[in-house]
C-alpha cells in the first residue's frame, strides 16, 4: 500500500462520504423531532439542480451552495406542512417530495438550459487554498487538494449537531419532541414549532448534500447526478441509531467501502467488478447484523402529534 494509494483512498472516501453525511444529518434532525423524512432523495436532487444553476449563472459556487440549502428548505416545507399541520401520513408526503423534487429539477433544466444536462458550473474550492496546494504540486501529497471545503463543513456540522443535541436545552427539547411530544407540550414548548424548525433544517442539509454532488463531485446537473444517495443516507441514519456521530461513522464506513471497491477495480481484474461493487452493501448488512441489532427509533417518529392526546 503506497502512500499515494492511501491518500487516494482518503480523498475518495471523503468524497463519497460528504454528500451522504449531509443528507444523513438532515434525516437525523428531522426524525429526532418525530417527523419521518423519506423524501431526502428528492430534496438532494432539487438542491443539486439549484446549486448547478446558480453556480453557472452567477459564476460563484458558494452562492450556488447556499441557494441549494434554501431550495431544499423550500421543497421540504411542503412535507412539513403536510406532516405537521395536516397530520398526513409521512411516508406518503415524503414520497411526494421525491417525485416533485426530481420532476421539477429535470423539467427546469430542460426549460432553462434547453438540454437535459446543465452546463458546466464552477466547482466548490478545495479545503486547501491555492497557494498551499501549489506548494505540494508534484509530490505524493498533491491529491489531497481533492478534498473539498464542504467536507470540512460537514464534519464541523457533526460536531455542532452533537453539541446542540446533547449538551444544550434546545437539543433536549428536540429529542423530547421525538420521544414524547405530549410531555414537551405540557412544558409550554410548541411541538409544531420545534418540528417545523427541524424539518426545515433537514431540507437545508439535504440540499447541501445534493449541491455537493453537482458542484464538487461533478460540475453539472443531470438526471443521474443523484442516484440513490438519498436512500443510502436513510440507511446510514438508521444504521447510526439516529445520532449525528453514528451517521458520520456509517457514512464513513460506506464511503470507505465504496472507495476500496473503486481502487481494487483499478488495480487488478481478479475479482469481477460487479462482485466488488456489492461489497459496501454486504458489508453494511453484516455490520448491521453484528453490531447494531434492534433499531432505536425515536418513539414518536412518524406519528402526527395531536394536541391533547396522550
Amino acid at each position: 500500500m503506497t502512500i499515494s494509494n492511501l491518500i487516494l483512498l482518503l480523498v475518495g472516501t471523503l468524497t463519497y462520504t460528504t454528500p451522504l453525511l449531509f443528507a444523513a444529518l438532515g434525516g437525523v434532525m428531522s426524525e429526532l423531532s418525530g417527523v419521518m423524512n423519506i423524501g431526502l432523495e428528492g430534496v438532494m436532487t432539487f438542491g443539486a439542480f439549484t446549486a448547478a444553476a446558480f453556480s453557472y449563472s452567477c459564476g460563484n459556487p458558494f452562492l450556488g451552495f447556499l441557494a441549494a440549502g434554501l431550495a431544499g428548505a423550500l421543497l421540504v416545507s411542503l412535507h412539513a406542512v403536510a406532516s405537521i399541520t395536516f397530520r398526513a401520513d409521512q411516508t406518503i408526503s415524503g414520497t411526494a417530495i421525491n417525485f416533485l423534487g426530481a420532476g421539477v429539477s429535470i423539467l427546469l433544466t430542460k426549460k432553462i438550459f434547453n438540454t437535459s444536462t446543465s452546463p458546466t458550473a464552477p466547482k466548490l474550492p478545495s479545503i486547501f487554498p491555492v497557494w498551499i496546494a501549489h506548494y505540494f504540486e508534484g509530490t505524493t501529497f498533491q491529491t489531497l487538494k481533492g478534498i473539498s471545503i464542504a467536507t470540512l463543513l460537514v464534519f464541523m456540522l457533526v460536531c455542532l449537531l452533537y453539541f446542540v443535541l446533547y449538551k444544550t436545552s434546545w437539543g433536549l427539547r428536540i429529542l423530547a419532541t421525538g420521544e414524547h411530544p405530549a410531555a414537551v407540550d405540557t412544558l409550554g414548548v410548541s411541538v409544531p414549532k420545534v418540528r417545523y424548525l427541524c424539518v426545515l433544517a433537514s431540507g437545508v442539509l439535504a440540499g447541501f448534500g445534493g449541491a455537493f454532488m453537482s458542484i464538487s463531485v461533478t460540475s453539472s446537473f443531470s438526471n443521474v447526478t443523484i442516484c440513490g444517495q438519498g436512500f443510502i443516507a436513510l440507511a446510514a441514519m438508521i444504521f447510526g441509531k439516529w445520532t449525528p456521530q453514528g451517521a458520520m461513522l456509517s457514512c464513513l464506513l460506506f464511503g470507505f467501502a465504496k472507495e476500496c471497491t473503486t481502487l481494487f477495480e483499478k488495480e487488478g481484474g481478479l475479482i469481477s467488478s460487479s462482485l466488488l461493487e456489492m461489497l459496501p452493501y454486504i458489508l453494511t448488512l453484516v455490520a448491521l447484523i453484528l453490531f447494531v441489532g434492534k433499531s432505536s427509533m425515536p418513539k414518536a417518529d412518524g406519528i402526527p402529534y395531536v394536541k391533547g392526546s396522550r
Binding site: 406518503i92 421539477v104 452493501y281 454486504i282
Partner: protein, 376 residues
C-alpha cells in the same frame, strides 16, 4: 363495506387526481407550455387507436404487480422498499430458466415463472428474516438488498454463457418460455390473412400482447382473497394493525412477518418475470441503474389506498399517463417530466386529503366556540 364507505374513500383520491392535474397545468403554463394542448395530446396518446389502448394495458402489468407488492406489505405493517431488487431477481432467474433450459411449451413458462417467483420471494424473505431475528429495520436491509440484487444481475449478465456481445443483451428466452399471445400464429400465412382483414385485431397483435395482464389480474384477486377471506390473511392484517397485540393473542408474528415479506417479494418478482417473458426482446438488458418499477410501486400502492383491487386501477391509470406523456412530448413538445411532477402533486394531495377532514372539523369546532361566545 357499503356504497357510502366506498364513496368516502373514492372522493379524496378523485379530488387529489383532479388537483394534481390542475396544479400541474398551472405549472406548465408558468413554464410556457400550453396545458390544454398538452393534456389533449396525452389523452390522444392513450385512447386514439386500439394499439395505444393495448400498449397501456401491456405496460400496466409490472406497475400493477409492484404496486400490489408494496400495498400487500403495507397491509402487513411492513414497508417493502425492496421491490426494485425483488423485481430484478425475478427477471434474472426467469431469463436463466427460460434461456438455458429446454422444456415443452407452456410447461417451460410455468416452471420458469414458479422458480423465479420463489427466488424473488426468498430475496424478500431475507429482509423479513433479518427483522425478525435481529430486529433490523426492513427499510435498511431492503435498500442494501436492492443494490446487491442489482450488482448480482450485472455479474451474471456479464457471464460469457449468457451474454450476447453483438446485442449487449443476454440470450433470449426461448419461445416455449415466453408468455406472448399468438406470436407464432401471426407470422403464418393464415394469420397474416386474418390480420389483413381486421384492423383492430392487427393493431393489437402488432403491439406484442402477452398473458401478463391476465396473470396480474389473477394475482390481484388471489391477494384480495388471501387478505380478506382467509385466516392467514386475518393474521397478517392484524400484524399490520398492531404487532404487539397479535403477539399477545398468540399469533406467530415472527413467522408471519417473514411470510409477508416472502409474498411481497414474490409478487414483485412476478412483475419481473412477466416483463422479461412477455415484452420483446425477451432478454436481460444491460442496466445502468434500476428500472424504476419497484419505486413506482410505492406510489401506485398509496394512490390505491393499499387495496389490492385498487392497485389494478391505479396501475392502469399510471400506465395510461406514462404512455400519454410520450405522445405529449413528441406531439406538443412538453417534457414528459411533467408526469413526475403531476404524480408528486397527486400523492401530496392524497397525503393531505385524508387529514383534510380533521382540519375541516377543527375549523367547525372553532366556529362553534366563537358563536357560543358571541351569544354570551
Amino acid at each position: 363495506m357499503n356504497k357510502h364507505d366506498l364513496y368516502k374513500k373514492f372522493i379524496p383520491i378523485a379530488c387529489a387526481l383532479i388537483g394534481g392535474f390542475f396544479v400541474g397545468g398551472i405549472f406548465l403554463a408558468i413554464c410556457g407550455y400550453n396545458p390544454i394542448s398538452s393534456y389533449a395530446a396525452m389523452i390522444d396518446g392513450i385512447f386514439a387507436r386500439p394499439k395505444y389502448i393495448a400498449q397501456v394495458i401491456i405496460k400496466s402489468t409490472p406497475l400493477i404487480l409492484t404496486g400490489l407488492s408494496v400495498a400487500f406489505a403495507f397491509k402487513c405493517g411492513l414497508f417493502n422498499i425492496g421491490a426494485e431488487g425483488q423485481y430484478m431477481i425475478g427477471v434474472l432467474v426467469a431469463t436463466l430458466v427460460g434461456a438455458k433450459l429446454s422444456l415443452p411449451p407452456v410447461i417451460h413458462f410455468v416452471v420458469s415463472l414458479l422458480v423465479a417467483v420463489v427466488a424473488a420471494g426468498m430475496w424478500g424473505a431475507i429482509a423479513g428474516f433479518l427483522k425478525v431475528k435481529f430486529g433490523i429495520n426492513e427499510v435498511v436491509t431492503s435498500i442494501m438488498l436492492n443494490w446487491i440484487a442489482f450488482y448480482l444481475y450485472r455479474y451474471i449478465f456479464a457471464m460469457p454463457w449468457l451474454h450476447v456481445k453483438e446485442l449487449d443483451a443476454s440470450l433470449a428466452i426461448q419461445e416455449t418460455g415466453r408468455s406472448t399471445i399468438l406470436q407464432g400464429f401471426k407470422n403464418t400465412a393464415k394469420g397474416k390473412a386474418i390480420i389483413a382483414d381486421n384492423s383492430v385485431f392487427s393493431d393489437i397483435l402488432r403491439s406484442d400482447p402477452n398473458w401478463g395482464f391476465f396473470i396480474a389480474i389473477l394475482m390481484v384477486i388471489f391477494i384480495y382473497y388471501l387478505l380478506s377471506k382467509t385466516t392467514k390473511g386475518f393474521e397478517l392484517r392484524a400484524m399490520g394493525i398492531n404487532q404487539e397485540t397479535s403477539r399477545f393473542v398468540g399469533m406467530n408474528v415472527s413467522r408471519n412477518m417473514t411470510l409477508a415479506m416472502f409474498i411481497a417479494g414474490a409478487i414483485a418478482g412476478l412483475a419481473g418475470v412477466l416483463q422479461v417473458t412477455g415484452v420483446p426482446p425477451y432478454r436481460m438488458n444491460n442496466l445502468a441503474g434500476f428500472e424504476g418499477y419497484g419505486n413506482e410501486g410505492i406510489y401506485i400502492a398509496l394512490v390505491a389506498n393499499c387495496s389490492p383491487i385498487g392497485c389494478l386501477f391505479s396501475g392502469l391509470f399510471f400506465s395510461a399517463i406514462k404512455c400519454g406523456s410520450t405522445t405529449m412530448q413528441s406531439k406538443v413538445g412538453t417534457p414528459s417530466e411533467i408526469i413526475k411532477i403531476i404524480t408528486g402533486l397527486i400523492i401530496f394531495f392524497i397525503a393531505i386529503s385524508f387529514a383534510y377532514k380533521l382540519v375541516v372539523a377543527k375549523m367547525k369546532q372553532k366556529k362553534e366556540c366563537r358563536c357560543k361566545d358571541d351569544d354570551k
